[in-house]
Each structure stands twice: as C-alpha cells, then as structure tokens.
C-alpha cells in the first residue's frame, strides 16, 4: 500500500525536528540579514530611521560619483593579484620543494613548520608588522639605516603612495601554510609509479614538474585560486588594523569603505549597496568554482 505524503511526513517527523534548530538559526541570522541587505541597498537609510526608497541610485553613486569606491576597487584588484602570486605561486614552489626533500625527518619538520602562520593569531602578525613598519622605532627603517640606505627609509604606513604596498608586503615571506598543506597533500597523492615511468622517459627536474606534477595538482591549484580571489575581495581586517583605509583613503578597500559608511557616517543603505557589489563579485567567483568542481567530477 502506498503511503500518502502526510503519512510519510508524520513518520519522519524526527527528521524535521532535527533540522529545525539549524533552520531557525539560519533564517534569523543568515537569510534575514542577506535579504535585508539586498533590500536596504535601495534605501537612503541611516541607523535609526526607516529611510526613503531610492531605487538604484546608491549603485549609480558608487560607480559615477564616488572616487574613493573606485580607488578601493583598484586596491582590491591590486591586493588580490598580489595574494594570488604570493599565496598560490609561492606556496606551490614551497610545496614542491618540501615534497622533493628526501630526508624524511627534515621533510616532516618543514611540513610542521608550515602550520606556524596558521596557529599564530592573524591579528598578532598584523600588529607585529604594523610595528615593523613604524617610521621612528620600527626595525625595517633601522635595518635600512644599518646597511647605509638612509634614503630608502619611509613612514611606510603614513605615506599615501607607499602605504598600500606596505599593506601588501606584510607577513614577508608571505607563506600561506594552508595552501602549502593542500598542495602538498595533492603532490603526495601522485603515485610513485607515474614519476618513475616519467623518469624512465627522461623527465627529470623541471620537466618532471612541468609535465607530470603540475598537471596532476591543477585541481588543488584552481581551488586555491578561487578561494584566494574570494578572500581577496572580502578581506579588510588587515587594512582596518593597520591604516583604517588612510592616509587620505590611499589604502581603502571595498570592505573598509563599507565599514566606514555604515558605522562612522551612518550611511547604512549606501554601505549595504557596497556589500551587494562585493557579493556579486564573489558570486561570479563562486560560479566559476562550481563549474570547475563539476568538470572535476566527470
């Protein structure tokens, strides 16, 4: 006898009860704010009042009448490209180096060491670099003076032309531990037989890397590229902690500009519009990500 839908629902009521708490949390603290953000981006809305509906004029203002926002997009692009080079590029190099070390002991040591940037709280590294860049007592200027390059010293975070590069180059030597570990896991999954047969065919060193190993870890590399782009679009805590977007908005990024509009000058509708633009940029990156995941499955 076929059960009716209601009977099936009644029989599996435990299933519903078990997801109810999750759904309640998601509706209140995820779906409602997300929808509200989309909706409020069309309002001239400050903290308390209901605000006036203004259609798309917030977005028009963003792209036609807000030089700071345009600059923040440029900075975001610059930082994201840099994060791609530094995180993905450098991490690939480091992962390959660690993978090729023959001595198991030192291999293990270096793998373990890559965890270090993860377990030191991000804010500690940011603040240490803020100190390193300090114009009067910071070690960076002290080192430059020490090797006789007085002319190269700067107020790194206070000069508009230089500050964005100082934010960029923080955390030298820019190793991203998580990326290295993901790539290393990919490299270690390559069967030794493939490398051996490659060697028999005369592929060693660079050619082994170029034609055997890199093609076999493209999955991981693509994934890191997408994750890094999404992170680069969103991230502004480093800017927040180091410069707050200054001096004269030279290190502004979209997240920071959203924060400033919402919580310093109470233009919450306008800030929501910035959030929507960031969401759309991320959405494009995510769709690319989904497409790539699908291509992996087939």
């Amino acid at each position: 006898m076929k059960k009716t839908l209601w009977e099936r629902i009644w029989e599996t009521k435990t299933g519903y009860l078990m997801v109810v708490p999750t759904l309640a949390f998601l509706l209140v603290f995820q779906y409602y704010p997300a929808v509200s953000g989309l909706y409020r981006s069309m309002f001239d809305w400050n903290a308390g009042l209901a605000g006036n509906f203004v259609g798309f004029s917030n977005f028009v203002e963003l792209f036609t009448d807000d030089d700071v926002f345009i600059r923040s997009l440029k900075n975001m692009a610059l930082l994201t490209i840099w994060y791609l080079l530094a995180f993905v590029g450098l991490s690939t190099g480091v992962a390959v180096l660690i993978h090729r070390i023959r001595n198991e002991g030192s291999k293990y040591f270096f793998r373990l060491f890559m965890i270090l940037p993860v377990i030191i709280p991000a804010v500690v590294l940011i603040l240490l670099w803020k100190f390193i860049y300090d114009s009067t007592i910071g070690p960076l200027n002290a080192i430059l003076i020490g090797v006789g390059l007085q002319d190269w010293t700067h107020a790194w975070l206070a000069e508009p032309k230089i500050a964005i590069y100082a934010v960029m180059f923080r955390n030298f030597p820019w190793i991203d531990g998580i990326s290295v570990l993901i790539l290393l896991a990919g490299l270690q999954a390559i069967p030794v037989e493939i490398i051996e047969s490659g060697l028999l065919d005369g592929a060693s060193g660079w050619r082994r890397l170029r034609y055997i190993e890199l093609p076999l870890i493209t999955g991981q590399i693509k994934l890191l590229i997408v994750l890094t782009i999404m992170w680069g679009v969103q991230e502004y805590s480093a800017v927040w902690a180091m410069t707050q977007g200054g001096p004269i908005d030279s290190t502004q990024v979209p997240g920071m500009w959203m924060y400033f509009n919402a919580f310093r000058i109470s233009r919450m509708g306008y800030a929501s519009a910035i959030g929507v633009v960031m969401f759309l940029i991320t959405l494009v990156a995510t769709i690319l990500n989904m497409r790539y995941i699908r291509s992996q499955e087939y």
């Binding site: 949390f25 509200s36 409020r40 660690i98 090729r100 070390i101 377990i119 959203m258």
Partner: protein, 289 residues
C-alpha cells in the same frame, strides 16, 4: 655517463627511491632560510618583550640584561580578561555548532524525510553569501534584538554561520557509515534520537574534532564584528582585545610585545593537543569550502 634507465634498473628498491629525490642540500637551505624569515618577527617580539623602555631606547633589537619579566606580569593582567571572553564566546559557539550541525547532518544523511534535498540546498546556498553582504543588516538585527553588549551578540551569529561547513563535513561522514547498522538499531526498537546519541555521535568523534578546530580558528580570529556589537572593551575577545591593548600601550614596546606573545599561546596549546585534527581539518575543510 649513467642514464636514468640504467640507474633505475639496478640496485635494491631503496636505492631507486632515493635517486628519485636528489639534491636535498639546496632545498633544505632554501626552506631553512624561509623558515628563519617566518619566525624573525616572533623572535623580535620575544627580544623586545623582555626590555624596559630605557633598554629599548638604548639597544632596540638585541637582547639586554636584566630580562624584564615584569612586562609579562603586566600583560597577563590585561590579556586574561580578553582571553576569558574568547573562551566563553568561542567555547559556547563551538558547542552550539557541534550540536546543531551533527543533528542536522544526521537527519540529512539517515532520515529520508520529504523535502530534505530542498532543505539541504537551502543550507548549502548560504555558502555563497559572504559576510560583507550581511555585516550591516546583522548589526542592525543584533541591535533590534537588544543583544548589544552581550556575549550573545557574538555567539548566536557565529553558531548560525559556523554550522554550515559542519553540516557539510558531518553529512558526508554519516552517509559513509553503513546503513545496515542504523536499520539494525531501528529493528531493535531504537528511536532516531537514541541512534543519533548512542551510535552515530560516538562514531564521529574525530570528525567532530575537525569541525570544532575549524570553527574555533574561525571565531578566534574574528577582529571587527566584536568591536561593533560590544561597546565595552572589557567584553572584547582576544583578537580585538590585542588590537586595543596595542593601541593603548603602544609606546611601552616591551609590554605590547609581551601581550602579543601571550595572546598567541592558546592556539598553540590547542594545536599541540589536536595537531592531527588540525592538519586534517585545514586541508579537508578548505577543499569543501
């Protein structure tokens, strides 16, 4: 000259494997230099943290004696309140996330209720909603709920956001468990609640650990949200707390460095006890994001 094929053909397997990985010397040196550069700021922090202001003025970046351990005593007094706040908020969040995400994941994986695919995609879709879209409305929501200046202003949104990745990881794990085992429990008269609590959860312990580590890393490093919802600095967790500590005592360099180093210790301790989960969580979690 010995070609590769010749060298691979002869010799015991051990030798063959070794020849695949030659040239350790320069690799070790290159990685060693990188490692030294990576810890250099921390070494600097240790050295400065043991200086009095006058010692710093005279010799800023090399060790000086006597070592000023009192910088740490000073920092402990201020950092400990922030640390306590972090333990409360991140701790409550991780408990909530484990409970909610394991319940939902068990339901998605083992109970075939009508509409579960739709509900699951409704959860999954939130992976595409970035924090930037929800920041402003979330703040207004917390304000309207009158949760400003309470720990709940951190815990509730963090549970909501943190459970998504937890559901993904745990659902995959529950689906990998043999279905016959759960059927057998049902035939023996166990309810789904009992199966969840007495059978499924104990089997998932290490996966719960992975979810917990990922979640703690996420909430622990949250810098900006707590500064918005907690006007009183004494409520701030460690990450914004360290920021305000540095702002406040910027010119007492020894004390600042001592505080930053002390603030790094809790995660290091967490790592020491959970290193395997840590690596597993970081690589698997990132892949499923």
């Amino acid at each position: 000259m010995v070609t590769h094929s010749e060298s691979l053909a002869g010799g015991p397997p051990q030798d063959q494997r070794r020849r695949l990985y030659r040239g350790d010397g320069w690799r070790t040196a290159a990685l060693g230099i990188l490692c030294v550069l990576m810890i250099a700021p921390l070494v600097m922090a240790v050295i400065i943290s043991l200086k009095s202001p006058s010692q710093f003025t005279r010799v800023p970046f090399l060790p000086t004696w006597p070592l000023r351990w009192e910088n740490y005593e000073f920092a402990v007094q201020i950092i400990s309140q922030f640390l306590l706040n972090s333990i409360i908020t991140s701790g409550a969040t991780v408990i909530g996330v484990l409970l909610l995400s394991s319940l939902a994941a068990y339901s998605f994986a083992q109970i075939r209720f009508p509409g579960r695919t739709f509900v699951f995609y409704a959860v999954l879709a939130l992976m595409m909603v970035p924090a930037s879209l929800t920041l402003v409305p979330s703040f207004v929501l917390i304000r309207d709920l009158r949760l400003i200046n309470t720990y709940w202003s951190l815990i509730l949104p963090w549970i909501a956001g943190g459970q998504i990745i937890g559901i993904l990881i745990l659902r995959a794990f529950f689906e990998s468990l043999p279905g016959e085992m759960f059927d057998a429990c049902r035939i023996d008269g166990a309810s789904d609640w009992q199966i969840y609590w007495y059978v499924a959860l104990p089997l998932t312990r290490s996966m719960l650990g992975v979810v917990a580590v990922l979640n703690i890393l996420g909430t622990w490093n949250n810098l900006i949200w707590p500064t918005l919802t907690l006007p009183e600095r004494k409520m701030w967790p460690l990450t914004p707390g360290l920021y305000s500590y540095m702002e406040q005592y910027y010119t007492s360099y020894g004390r600042v460095m001592a505080g930053l180093l002390l603030g790094s210790i809790p995660l290091v301790i967490l790592f020491v006890f959970t290193s395997r989960l840590f690596v597993e969580g970081l690589t698997s979690g990132a892949i499923k994001t």
